[in-house]
Symmetry: C2
Subunit: 364 residues, 2 copies
């Protein structure tokens, strides 16, 4: 039972139900060139349909913005960090994220660190420090946050601060949409929208042309653009999303909402565990006040003796992700709620057994 990966297989049944609109035929001679019409590595038609999807959901402003594609949000986030780093500077830009943060941001930035940028850990640690006003800072803001689903805002502001908003989960599946986001650099990914993680297709919506151009250079240096097969698949799927009206959002929201409710119900059977806060907000997509329906549970072991929450769950055959990976304490574990229905059912069953059969309940 692996609840550690964010593999979004919860959308597989939706695509099985919509065979006709989503199937793709590719001829052997189709789109062999590096580029589209000898010009760009990136499909203009794909950028158009991305804009349409954002407009129909109302989660991001894309008019008069540049769009760039990459191999998943992973490659796009890295391109943004490179592009926002100062070109000629004696000291590297400080890249920060606030705890609990998405582990890949840390790992990737450390892996590629150079004279251009360096990972500097928890954003809160640097807040209010005088040496920051003169240093180039890059803050990555994951909103909704991975692991806890909260809508986050940047901590740093100022002339030397660049901000990257990772909006992978900013879809009605996972969160109320209070307003279209209008940040300088916004990163999205097909994997959390349609569930096609293996296609590796992410994008950024960018205000500034210089940043866009530097990200284009990154994509050329890193992988000479992005797979056209991935772009074609994304094009077909996003057109199917539009064709089905609110269908995919309704399916995804209902699925995630009902999973969250079952989880809350299970966890509430004891005081041994707690879940993240879930404050209702107005959702402009559904025109109503909604709770989160998050992709992950940010579970806390509440007992003094359960400091290693991962081990507690592992003993019950539930494999989550340790809190310390997210810069948090090991009293926390992230559980994935986006996998297949079977996986989710087994998770609930084992959690229920742990909670009701554990000695904790005898003392309730």
């Amino acid at each position: 039972m692996h609840s550690y990966s964010g593999d979004p297989l919860f959308l597989e049944p939706f695509w099985m139900q919509h065979l006709a609109s989503s199937a793709l035929v590719v001829a052997g001679w189709h789109q062999m060139s590096y580029t589209y019409g000898g010009k760009s590595f990136f499909s203009k038609e794909l950028a158009k349909v991305v804009r349409k999807v954002h407009a129909s959901v109302g989660n991001a402003v894309t008019q008069n913005r540049f769009i760039i594609f990459g191999a998943g949000s992973t490659q796009v986030l890295s391109a943004a960090v490179f592009a926002l780093s100062p070109e000629n500077n004696s000291s590297p830009a400080k890249v920060v994220t606030s705890v609990p943060y998405y582990p890949v941001d840390k790992q990737q930035t450390q892996y590629f660190s150079s004279q251009k940028f360096k990972y500097e850990g928890d954003a809160y640690r640097w807040n209010n420090r005088s040496d920051c006003s003169s240093t180039n800072m890059i803050e990555i803001v994951t909103s909704p946050n991975n692991p806890d689903g909260q809508l986050k805002k940047a901590i740093f502001h100022g002339p030397n601060v660049k901000t990257i908003y990772d909006h992978a989960y900013y879809w009605p599946h996972f969160t109320p949409i209070p307003a279209p986001s209008d940040e300088d650099v916004m990163v999205f990914t097909l994997s959390k929208l349609t569930g096609h993680a293996g296609t590796r297709l992410g994008w950024a919506v960018i205000k500034d042309e210089t940043v866009f151009n530097r990200m284009m250079i990154h994509m050329r240096m890193n992988s000479m653009g992005v797979s056209k097969d991935a772009q074609l698949r994304a094009f077909k799927l996003l057109n199917a999303v539009l064709e089905e009206g609110t269908g995919i959002f309704d399916f995804a929201y209902q699925t995630m909402k009902s999973r969250w409710e079952r989880l809350v119900q299970t966890v509430s059977l004891s005081n041994r565990f707690s879940l993240q806060e879930n404050n209702p907000q107005y959702c402009t997509f559904y025109n109503k006040v909604r709770q989160l329906s998050p992709a992950y549970a940010w579970l806390k072991c509440e007992r003094e003796e359960d400091k290693d929450c991962y081990a507690v769950l592992e003993a019950a055959n539930i494999i989550g992700r340790q809190g310390n990976l997210f810069g948090a304490e090991d009293g926390y574990v992230r559980l994935s709620l986006v996998r297949t229905q079977d996986d989710f059912d087994i998770l609930i069953e084992r959690l229920h057994k742990l909670i009701t059969e554990g000695d904790g309940d005898k003392t309730m």
Copy 2:
């Protein structure tokens, strides 16, 4: 008329002639997950067919070797440089290439340079220098070479030397195959084999498990694996390659051979230009002595006053790539011979006009 890009559209007619074996149908729900069976980002079935193609051509030893995929040879080469750099070292590994070199090797290594590695230019400049024996060196050997098609060998050897063989062009299309290559790290790409540059699918054949594991980490950090749509497309195309017997190699070799012969004939009309040497070798694939049938012409302007060969050609509306991009003199220009037949015909026509109408011929 752009003869600068290596866009391998010369194979498009082959795929148009083989519709049935190469067409692909993808259902919307197909392969959504990040991984294959929850395990690897990379398809085992694709690795199998890659091994079969190498075995049928006889250009690389793949038994008991690891295979890793990436977004084109571009990403794979970068992964190899990262993986071959020392993990904990005070001074970065020196990455070298020998002139004339493939420009991307230099540009990419400079772009990603860090405490792990640094681009140090022409390999010949470092040869025989005493400080090299104690320094970590990484030599990238492009063989057949881009731009000049020569079968190159590594210059550096020794305990601190790691070598990456870029074998993108080591196919019967472009060169005699004297023997299966059996180097530590060998890089190939779909773009120069089947012509599908836009699919962005490259691979490395690797002897050492530690190097393989470090390249796997790179692929995870860089883009969380590689597009499954690209892997599926490559799988279908490589199976079609096998199904067609020697068909694609016969088509590609005949096309490139006849283009080379037309070019040689045109250039030989004057002494103003010369082409790279083309020494015949025994080809184990065709069981005969063969000349190169290279992907590029490495054209030299022979006249004293034609120091800027790019400008000479540009005036005749032929756009090549300047010699200095390859670390060579600007008396050289690279012309691409792998584009469409129309592009090639226009190239020959303009070159013919330049040669026969230019004042050079009056003095012949």
